[in-house]
Symmetry: C2
Subunit: 125 residues, 2 copies
């Protein structure tokens, strides 16, 4: 699986916001959230290309970048890994921690209920 560092992930977020995108677009988007130097961002983009998380097409001397992986797919993989490592693959303990420390909102609860409902539908139960 493609592994991204935190900084690389932040760059992916900027790209996922809209693609294909030029380096300058990515830089612009990231300026809103970070103080990263343009050079830093370009280094990160290069590393993403090398890791094949991002592909590019040439347009004159500029490159037009596109993510090769979707945000959903990536975050799901990461979540699975995380949950496997910390909670032996089960999601409930994580949610439980949030509950115990009052970090669940009404919205979370509503969504969880819906997830459960759909799950039960699918189980034909």
């Amino acid at each position: 699986m493609i592994e991204l560092s935190k900084a690389e992930f932040a760059v992916m977020e900027a790209l996922w916001q809209g693609y294909p995108a030029k380096a300058s677009d990515i830089v612009k988007r990231l300026s809103d959230d970070t103080q990263w130097h343009e050079k830093t961002i370009k280094t990160l983009v290069s590393r993403l290309v090398k890791k094949q998380a991002v592909s590019f097409e040439k347009d004159g001397r500029e490159y037009i970048y596109t993510p090769t992986i979707g945000r959903e797919a990536y975050t799901l993989k990461e979540s699975q890994n995380f949950i496997a490592r910390l909670f032996r693959g089960r999601v409930a303990p994580l949610v439980s921690g949030f509950a115990k420390t009052q970090q669940l909102s009404q919205q979370d609860i509503d969504e969880l209920k819906q997830i459960i409902e759909q799950w039960e539908q699918k189980q034909g139960k």
Copy 2:
């Protein structure tokens, strides 16, 4: 917050299994799960001491190690960070990903239901 690398976390897991514990105990426990060399494990323990995730008492020339942070507290912090970074702080999207890819068990569902129930009790609703 104390930051642990993956390898360091694995060592903490071994220590959390039972403490205070001698280095040799930790090594023994980890042999079940990993192929790490004893030297490697001791290096990791030293780094944990340096990071103050672990403290020790001398007993002759051996050290007796104790974690300074609990597993629950640490994994909660990590989870918060993770969820903040990937899902803007909300757990439901993560659970939703698991649901979509059939990674929720009946047990997960039961536990989630219980969490919800308790949450609603607390909200006095």
